[in-house]
C-alpha cells in the first residue's frame, strides 16, 4: 500500500480537503485555503505529483473547487499546476476549476491562472447555489 492509495487531508477552517482518488487518478482540492504556513501545507501535495507520474498509466485529472484562497495559496496553487504541467503530457492532464455562477472574482482568477500557465483550465460553473 503506497502513500498514493490513501492520500487524504481533511478540511479545516483554513485548509482545503485534499484527496487523491487512486483508481481514477483524480486529485481534488475543496474548500478554503488560507493556511498559517502555506509551504508546509502544500509540500506533501507537490510531492505527490511525480509519484503519480510514475504510475503504470501516467495521467492526472485535477479538480479545484475553492471557496477562497489567499495570496500565498495562489502562489502555491500556481506552483502545483506548474508541476503537473512538467510531469504530464497535455493529453494526459486535465484541470477542472469549479466556480459559482455569480463569482466573477473566482472565474477571473481561474482565467488568470490559465493565461499565465499556458495550460488549458476548464472553468465549470456550479449551478447548485
Amino acid at each position: 500500500m503506497n502513500q498514493l492509495e490513501t492520500f487524504h487531508i481533511t478540511a479545516t477552517r483554513s485548509t482545503p480537503e485534499v484527496l487523491f482518488d487512486y483508481k481514477r487518478q483524480v486529485l481534488s482540492l475543496r474548500g478554503v485555503s488560507s493556511p498559517e504556513k502555506t509551504t508546509d501545507f502544500y509540500q506533501p501535495i507537490f510531492e505527490l505529483i511525480p509519484q503519480i507520474a510514475q504510475l503504470p498509466q501516467p495521467s492526472l485529472h485535477v479538480e479545484l473547487q475553492l471557496v477562497h484562497f489567499n495570496s500565498s495559496s495562489a502562489k502555491a496553487l500556481f506552483q502545483l499546476l506548474q508541476t503537473t504541467e512538467t510531469h504530464f503530457l497535455s493529453d494526459h492532464l486535465s484541470i477542472n476549476w469549479y466556480c459559482d455562477e455569480d463569482d466573477d472574482d473566482m472565474i477571473e482568477a481561474a482565467e488568470d491562472f490559465s493565461d499565465m500557465l499556458d495550460i488549458n483550465i476548464n472553468i465549470l460553473i456550479n449551478e447548485e447555489i
Binding site: 474548500g31 488560507s34 471557496v67 495570496s71 500565498s72 466573477d104 472574482d105
Partner: protein
Amino acid sequence: MIETPNHPTSSPSEQFLPRQKSHTIMYVDDEEHNLRVFRSSFRRHFNVITHSDPLEALETIRTKGVDILVTDQRMPNMTGTQLIETIRSEFPDLISIIITGYSDIDAVTDAINKCGIHRYITKPYDQQELKSTFDEAIKLEQLKKDKEELLTKVEGNNKQLETQVEERTKELQEINHKLIESLEYAENIQKTILSDPDELEGIFQNSMIYYKPLDIVSGDFYLLRRLGDRAVIGAFDCTGHGVPGAMLSMLGNAAIDNALASNIVRPSELMATVNNKIYKQLKASPNRVGDGMDGSFLLFNKHTNKISFSGAKSDIILFRNAELERVRGNRLSIGERFMDVDQSFDQHNIDATGVSEIYMYSDGYRDQINEAYSQRFKTSRFHALLSRIHKEDFLTQSQILDEEFKKWKGSADQTDDIMILGFRLQPN
C-alpha cells in the same frame, strides 16, 4: 489535621490487619482484680496499660496516648461515660469501649449517642469476644486512617496539578500579553503612516475610511495627499496580513512617499515607479515567495473635475447619476514575479460629471467567508451593498458596512484585512 494518638504506627501500605502488640489498650476499672485479669488476658496481643483511677487514666492518655480505651462504667470520682466524654474532645480518633452491668445500660446508651462510644460490653465479658471486638475496632480505625491518608494524598496531587496548570496558564498569558503589547505598539507605528482624513478637506465634500485589520496591524494601507486643487490617493493591500503584511506596507508606503517627493502624481507613473522600486527591493531578497501588493492610485482634480486611475489587480467604483461604474485596473500585482521591472500600467482618465461617490478598497470585505465556510461575500454582493447605501452619509455607511459584515461572518474568522475608502464629490 487529624489528631493521632502518640504511638508508633506502621504505614498503611505495610499492613492491613493490626500487627500484634503494635496497639496500646488502656483498661480503667476501680477493682484491682479486674485489672489483673484484663492484663493477663490481653498482654500477649497488645500493650496493656491499666488504671484504677480515671483521673490518672486521663493523664496517661494525654501523655502517652492509647489506641483503645476500655473502661468500667461505675467508678468513684468519675463514671466511664464521663471519662470518655472528657477525653474524646481531645482525641476524637480514640476507640472507646465501655464495660457495664445490665443495670447501667440506659445511661450507657445515652452516652453512645452523645460521645460516640465504639461499643459497650456487658459484664461478665467473654475474653474471645472482647479480643475480636478490639481487632475489629483497630481494623476499622486503620481503614479510616488509610482512607484519610489517600484523600489527603489525592487532594495534594490535585492541588499540585492545579498549581501547575495555573503556572502554565500564567506563563502563556504573559507571552500572549507581551505579543499583543508589541503588536499594539506596532499598530501605533503603523498608524503614523496612515494619512489624516482631514488632509483632503476642501477637495471632497467628505470621506469615509472603513479600516479593519485582521491582526491588530494590517497589510492594508492608504495614503491621502492634497496638492492644491488636486488630491492623490493610494489604497494598497500587501500580501499576507499581520506583521509580515504590515512590514511590507511600510516598504510600500516609503516607495510611494519617495515617488510623490519626486513630484510624480500621475497614477500610471506612480504605479510604474512604485512597482520598479518594490520589484527591485523584493527581488534582492532571495527567500521571497511572491510577496507584493495590489492597489490603486487615484488623482482627482477638483478644478477640471477629472479623475485619473491606475490599478494593480485592483478596481475602483464610482457612482454616476446613482449608477455603479466599476473601473478596472490591470490584472497584475506590484512586485509580482511574472512582471517586468519596467511594467507599465494603464491609466483611466474619467470625466467626473455626475459622479457623486468614489470607492477604493482592498479585497478583504468581498473575500470574507460566511459562517458555514461555504461562500465568500463576493464582488456581486459588495456591489449590491454599495448601490444600496452609497447615498447615505458616510457615518451611516460605515455602520451599515460593519453590521452587514458581522451578519455575514457570523462566528467565522475574519478572512483578511479590510479597507474601504469612500469620497463624496457632490453634496447629497
